[in-house]
Assembly symmetry: C2
Homo-oligomer: 340 residues x 2
């Protein structure tokens, strides 16, 4: 089969790889229907912690081809959505809703690589969720979004304790930030402030539920958030970048006692203890336990109540993966869907 | 009147100061019945951010002498307990339970200094809580503890989401850590692990509810906590020191999805973003909103259901304040009560 391998910064190739096979009784092999490039894939693409040779891709929807003897909840022919972290969904950490740190967790990135034609998914019962039936083709992008960016934005909003009557600020206007806005709206936020200086993203932010746009960053950005919140700061802030600047932007924009939900993959971030201490905010985040939210998100998509697939503004065949990375790197596309 | 002034590291003097007067209609002047030295006072005493000349003391119980025209809830003759941060208790931040970051917050330390015979307390209605009557003398230490160390330990336990059936680890065996144990027990924790290597503190820890003691620190300490929690880490961890080592100890001892409640005043702490991110813990802390807990804590003490005054293992007259600082600095005393 064919799949994406990153050889170094900016060097993405589609090559022939071995066909995945069932190895454990709890495995499934799926035929990938759609995959995509994630904002987090851009970190190694741009030279941050770039491995020598890595299988790429951790977002996926597909059709089950084959299952191991112990797999009970999915069968060949089922259309499935999976999380970007393999989980058994039965350990105490999974039970508490933190499947992305399951005691048997495996990151799909690197070890499996779903920018490919097929993938072996360990702990299929604990990782995959089947859709109510074979989806209409126009639902595929939204279902694909659920496997990471939607689930991650949703987790960020839940981690930030978004709820009715609250004011929410969103730092980061990539797919995750934009879908954090969608989640915030769904969870009943009263005011949703998108921090963005890109017109096309501002437009999508408003479409997803943003009530205010703040273009300023740093100290000026914080001042703007304060102006919009009676000088207090937002109740809930979603951080969806992962840089020092964005984390501090989020923390400083939150009122004392408020909540920061952060999901941007942390790069070179050092949080100053004194500012955290006197800020008196709640901080929660990390790799999103997407599996926790998948059943609910799939249903919302199936019922056409949310349309997260809108974050895909470009579709390419898998063989054009290099072009997809480039488009996202240059911010010519918010998110590129790949069709094997 | 006489009161404590710190002139520099290790240089604590009791000197004549001006008698406090009512300045605003919302003020009260109280006669201090008992004050004490706080673990946080040791930071400047040991040379960390030591001011040139600072009024010391932020823990206090006393009897109201005089009130301004607008004060409604306390009257001359009332015995009162106050928080170490002045709060109006009416702003949106106070309403949310974060009185230590009230929009009108004033830290008692430095500006008021309750290691003294009298103190002016601004926003008396929002800061002071009167006891049901004049307390028996043996209740005074416990009521004094409520004004900071008990309230702070309590907040740490609440911030760490301690609850029935949970395993709690406590980093720091000073008064706050010990009273965090008391709070954890009261809140229904199943297993309470005290991290301490001092015999007298271990004894008090057990008395307050600790079920296990871990003497190891650093990596070994984390391993011990893991051993006691099926390899997962504690559900809730209370951090009551404020150093880099103790914060990392707390974060690493917490299971994914678990909660760290940190109240040690942060000194030279830099939290590595990557470890925080992949740790997937909740982090909440800062200066405790003691005022939130005062009514409940005073009642528990009044009903003799808790006895936090046990953390005071030495009592000295105010004039011997220098000796009190020295005893705590050398860890000859857990906490010293000062009687004006």
């Amino acid at each position: 089969m064919r799949g994406v391998i990153m050889y170094g910064p900016g060097d993405v190739r589609v090559e022939e790889r071995e066909d995945p096979q069932i190895q454990e009784a709890t495995d499934a092999v799926i035929k990938i229907v759609a995959a995509c490039v994630c904002g987090s894939d851009l970190w190694p693409y741009r030279g941050a912690d770039t491995p020598d040779k890595q299988l790429m891709g951790h977002e996926y929807v597909g059709v089950v081809e084959q299952v191991g003897d112990e797999v009970k909840t999915v069968s060949p022919g089922d259309f499935v959505v999976g999380s970007f972290v393999i989980s058994d969904n039965t350990c105490p950490i999974c039970d508490a809703g933190y499947q992305s740190r399951c005691v048997n967790a495996v990151f799909v990135d690197g070890s499996i690589g779903t920018q490919a034609e097929y993938a072996r998914i360990p702990f299929a019962d604990g990782t995959l969720v089947k859709t109510p039936g074979m989806p209409d083709d126009d639902l595929v992008p939204s279902l694909l979004a659920a496997s990471d960016v939607l689930g991650t934005g949703w987790f960020a909003a839940v981690a930030a304790e978004v709820g009715p009557g609250k004011t929410v600020a969103v730092v980061g206007d990539g797919a995750v930030g934009l879908l954090g806005i969608m989640a915030a709206k769904h969870l009943g936020a009263e005011k949703i402030i998108a921090m963005s200086r890109h017109e096309s993203r501002q437009k999508l932010a408003r479409e997803f539920g943003a009530t205010d746009i703040v273009e300023e960053r740093g100290k000026e950005g914080v001042e703007k958030i304060k102006e919009l919140t009676y000088g207090l700061g937002a109740h809930s802030v979603i951080e969806a970048v992962g840089s020092q600047e964005s984390m501090m932007q989020a923390i400083r924009s939150t009122r004392p006692g408020g909540h920061v939900g952060y999901v941007g993959v942390s790069h070179d971030v050092e949080l100053p203890g004194g500012q955290l201490f006197f800020g008196l905010v709640h901080l929660h985040g990390g790799p999103a336990p997407v599996r926790r939210f998948l059943p609910e998100l799939i249903q919302l998509i199936w019922d056409r109540k949310i349309d997260p697939g809108k974050v895909f503004d470009k579709t390419l065949p898998l063989d054009h993966a290099a072009e997809a990375y480039e488009a996202m790197d240059k911010r010519e596309a918010i998110k590129v869907l790949l069709r094997p």
